[in-house]
Each structure stands twice: as structure tokens, then as C-alpha cells.
Symmetry: C2
């Protein structure tokens, strides 16, 4: 299952795709990064139930077979871990040391969350929807909850209704245990902590939920209001990553090298990817491949005429989205160890 | 200023009253505990302004003299630090090591916050009121805000309107710098982190505020809902403390000793204080002194006929409030390092 993946942590299991292996729009299941917070729960499809409760008129539960019998949809969505690229932070910070590959793009098949919310008879005071996974364990931050907690995240009702898919298939195959069998929420455009795996419960609330993974973890300091307020991570930030060349790779002088990678944004389409070989002094447009698709990455390439002279060279890629906002050069400390999308130069040896 | 107080920390200044010196309903200003998070700001009454802004129709600012010219009220209120009694926790935890004396009762004179909110023309979407102090500095928890932050706390609009006093006098004297000159919010019944000192700004918001001191600090795990949620500390928990004898004190055998102390509750009146000399096997009613007063402590005493035989004895006090809820015997780990009101036996030597 984990063949070819970089093991960042064995227990809980955290596996990264070597981003240099990027070969197409769809990331194969066996190459897709794996992020776990606790041991992977063993779930039997026969015994598993999904409950829908809280501020609803008619709470209910669904079996796996019932879910499979509902009208399904298939969407492409790029999932990125909120800590992707963390290994490049200076000074070093705590957390799984992800390089470039805690990101992947798959097609997901399942039932829109809205179908279940419709059936539940949402009350008029419904404000948020909590998604709870079956994975649980102890956490070690202050204040520390007494005993085990389960992994859960909430969404504003609007996002839950408009965008979320409850997926039981990934790239046409039954979801694997590592990816959340039997059911994973897919929250398009958001960092992947929102895409709760091993989903077992949906709770509609009339109050903002401030669970561990949206207060002590997976948060940042939001300064858009009158005073800094701790906010749960949400939308993926615009980013381009270079798959090849890799950092430290040797490329032939005086030749044509295909620089390529992927770019994505949680809130808009990618409209431009540029590359720079002089630390941002000048930028060349890369070619965007395929069609723009909301919430899925876009592959790009650039035919690089490598220098005639041997030596060390830098390459930077940067993406701009349809709001016209390019990736930032620097990083705000208010983002803590998350949302890492500032420009990352890589070095290659021309020989 | 700090004569007779226990210095728990010099910088920032944190001073505790030796609780054995409890001598009356009012804690004298010079005996009142001092809690600071940052250096004490130097504020000139002439230059100081209080601004009222946010979700209001008519933002405005007030000078010190204007505030003094408004209709005033005087209330008695007990302030207790949310970490009071922390030194008794096992295992030891981080934070200022308060004993029994991070609590005091004073009369406060000032202007009801509601008078300012009325004048501001609250908008219909007003939800919370943030109180911001002039004290600021860096904090060291993850996620760490970039740069300095000021001390601030928010209140639900209802509490802000119904109960809060903006005090410029403490026990009839002008507020001292250590106690928040020129203005301190008094939030009766709540732990004292809500009673923001050196008040400089009032911001009405339409969203829940999740500032540092109500997310990473001064919070606990609330399990009253479907899933644990991090909640800001609020109401003081019912508690009786023994002033005398002190822990480790020697008392004369076969005599009458006046066991005495204070008891308080953030949400109800104290209706009963009991003492036990057999680790809770049996309880004797103490005598409640004075009249019950909402949000102020109640003094109590018990004439103890000490044993004829020398030896070590334990004493426990427990309070019950008008909701009939006595202090808990044990402590929930979900409270972290705060809200410490479980029963605390003290030991005395009878000789």
C-alpha cells in the first residue's frame, strides 16, 4: 500500500508522495499521501452506521448499503494537508515534516451531504455541521481534554450544503482503510483536515463548534477584524509546486528541460503560473495544461533552455489565481505551522 | 504597595494575599491580590481615552473627566483569579502558583457599561462586547500570534448589558496602577480575567471573538454538548476557603478555636457552609455571617471544640449554593489548570 511513499511517521501513519513522481492530473490511489492523527480504525461495512443528528427535525442513521443505493456524484478535488511544505520552514517547527507531497488530486464518488441534510429536516437555528470520524486517541496540548477525543471538524452550514461530498469511492475504487473506509467527507477547496475520514456522525449545531482540531490545532491568527482572533483553517491558499527538476537535481547544460508541476487554489481558478530563474528578477509564463476545473489542481509545464555554462541555478514557480492574487514572497507568522504557500526556490546543478 | 503580600512573580507582577489575614467583608486595597499578564502600562488620565466602536451606530470616545461626570453606581463584587488554588494541584502544572489568596472582595464605583452601550446605538446584529486593556506583550503558546497582543476578553451582549460596571474607584479610593488605573471593567460573578484592567477600548462585534485569552488561555473543555468544545472560562465556581487555621498551624488542645473563612459562587447565593474534621465522614454547619449579597463572598465561622488529645487533624470546608450544588470532591481534568474548587483538606497539629 505504501510502496514508493515517503514514511513521515509510522504510528500514526503519515505517508507522503514524492512530488517528483507527479505524472498526471489524477494521483493514483497507491501514490496518494496519507494523513492520520490516530490509529486507523477497523470498520466493518456491515456494522457501520452513519448518524445524522442535532438541530434537525428527524434524526436518522444510514447503513453502508443504503448509502450506496442513493444517487451519486463524482467530482475531482485536490486535497492538500494544511502542513504541506512544513519541512521548508525556518526555524524548524513541530509537526509532521511534510515536503512537497502532502497533496494529491483524485476523483471522488459519493453522495452530496446536502441530500442527507435535506432528509434530516434542518431546523431554522442550524448554524454549523460537525463531521466526526471514528478515529480517536489522546492529544497533548494545553488545555488537554481528559481522556480520548475523536477527530472532528465543523463547517458553516452554507459550505456543508453547497460543496461537500460524502465519498465512498476514490478514483473509481472502493475507499481504502488508509483513506477513510467506509466514508470520507470531501470538502473541496479546503485544507484536507476538513475532509474527515472514517465518518461516523454528522451533528448539526446552533452554536459555533470549537473542538480541538479547530481551536488548539489547525488554526491561525486572523487579523481581518478589530483584534486578532484564532480562526480555524479553511481554504487552500494559492500555490504552484515544481515536480521536476527536484531540488538538487543535475540537469544537462545547453539542452531543453521540461520544468513541470501542479498549481491550485481553494477559492478561485489558477489563471497563471510563472517560473523565474533569477530569484524573481524576471518571470516567464508556463503553459497551463488541460482545462480549468474548480477545486482541482492544474498541471503546468515550461520548456527550459538550460544554460550553456555549468553551475548552480535556482528555479521558482509562482501561481496567480483568478482574483489576481499571486503567491506571497514572504510568510506571516500568524499562520503558525500551516498554510505554507510563500515562494520556495529550488536549486539545480547544470553540468 | 505590596507590603504583606506574597510575591508569586515580579515581572509581570503577581501578588497574593495571605488568606489567613482575612479580617472582614472588604479586602483592603493594599491587601488585594494583583494579577498582571504584561508590564503595568503607565497611563496619564489627561491623555487617556476610552473608545466605543464596532457594531454601533455612533462610535465615540470618552475622557476620564467625562466618565467621572456620568451617573455612577457602587457595587460589592468578589474577584477570584481563575487559577486560584493552583498550587494544590497534583501533579504540578504550569502557571502562577497561587495558593488560597488570589481572591478578594471590594466595593467598586463607576459607570455601568450599559450606559455607554446605550449611547453607542447598538446595531441589531451586535453579539458580543470585547473589552481591551492597554497592557500588551508577546505570548508563548502555539499557535503564537506574530508580535505583541493586548489583553482582551469578550462577553456575551446580555452579560455586558446587565451586569458590567466600569470602575474608577476601588473601596472608595481612586484605582491604583496595579489594579487598572484609570478604568477597570468589573464583571460580577465571573473569574477575574474577564474584569479587564487598564481598559482602553470597547468593541461590539457581530461574531464570536476567539482572542488569545479565550481560546489558548483561560479556557476549559465543555462537554455539555454533543462533542467536547473549548469554552472560555466564565462563572466562578462555588467554593469555601478556610482562612484560619492555616495549613500546618498548631492549635491548643481542649479549647475553642474559631475556624473561619469566606465562601462565594458566581451564579447563586451561598446558602450553606459546612466543616468536616473526619475527611468528610460527617459535616457540621458553619455560621454564615452578614447578609447574602449577589456576587460578593460571604464570611463564615465555626466554633471548634478542639480535641483533648494531641495529634494531627484535618479540616475541610465545603460550600453549597442556592441551586443546591455543593463543591465537588474530585476534579475534572477538562478544567485544565483553572476553576479549582474541589475539596481541599488542611492539616493542623493539636498540642
Amino acid at each position: 500500500m505504501s510502496e514508493g511513499l515517503i514514511v513521515r511517521e509510522q504510528e500514526p501513519l503519515n505517508l507522503e508522495m514524492p512530488f517528483s513522481s507527479l505524472s498526471g492530473f489524477i494521483t493514483p490511489n497507491e501514490s496518494f499521501y496519507v494523513r492520520c492523527h490516530f490509529p486507523i480504525p477497523e470498520i466493518s461495512a456491515e456494522e457501520w452506521r452513519l448518524t445524522v443528528e442535532g438541530e434537525v427535525g428527524a434524526p436518522f442513521e444510514l447503513s453502508y448499503d443504503e448509502l450506496l443505493g442513493m444517487e451519486s456524484r463524482t467530482i475531482a478535488a485536490t486535497l492538500e494537508c494544511a502542513g504541506n511544505n512544513r519541512i521548508f520552514l525556518e526555524p524548524k517547527v513541530k509537526g509532521v515534516q511534510w515536503g512537497l507531497g502532502a497533496v494529491g488530486n483524485a476523483s471522488w464518488t459519493g453522495v452530496p451531504l446536502s441530500a442527507l441534510l435535506d432528509r434530516s429536516g434542518l431546523k431554522s437555528n442550524a448554524l454549523e455541521v460537525i463531521l466526526e470520524g471514528a478515529d480517536e486517541g489522546e492529544v497533548d496540548k494545553t488545555p488537554k481534554p481528559a481522556g480520548k477525543i475523536s477527530f472532528c471538524r465543523s463547517l458553516p452550514l452554507k459550505k456543508a450544503i453547497e460543496d461537500v461530498l460524502l465519498a465512498y469511492k476514490m478514483n473509481g475504487e472502493k475507499l481504502s482503510a488508509t483513506h477513510g473506509f467506509p466514508l470520507r467527507a470531501i470538502v473541496p477547496g479546503w485544507y484536507a483536515m476538513a475532509s474527515v475520514k472514517w465518518l461516523r456522525r454528522i451533528v448539526v449545531t446552533d452554536k459555533p463548534f470549537n473542538g480541538f482540531y479547530q481551536s488548539l490545532d489547525y488554526t491561525y491568527w486572523d487579523r481581518s477584524g478589530p483584534l486578532p482572533t484564532l480562526a480555524p483553517l479553511a481554504e487552500q491558499q494559492t500555490k504552484a509546486e515544481i515536480a521536476r527538476p527536484e531540488n538538487g537535481e543535475t540537469v544537462a547544460a545547453n539542452s531543453v528541460y521540461r520544468v513541470h508541476g501542479a498549481a491550485w487554489s481553494g477559492t478561485a481558478e489558477i489563471t497563471r503560473v510563472e517560473v523565474s530563474f533569477d530569484l524573481g528578477g524576471s518571470w516567464q509564463d508556463a503553459k497551463l495544461l488541460g482545462e480549468p476545473l474548480k477545486n482541482a489542481w492544474r498541471l503546468w509545464e515550461y520548456e527550459w533552455q538550460t544554460p550553456a555554462k555549468a553551475g548552480r541555478h535556482t528555479i521558482i514557480a509562482r501561481a496567480t489565481d483568478s482574483h489576481g492574487i499571486p503567491q506571497p514572497v514572504d510568510r506571516s507568522g500568524d499562520r503558525g505551522t500551516y498554510m505554507i504557500n510563500h515562494l520556495l526556490p529550488l536549486e539545480v546543478d547544470v553540468s
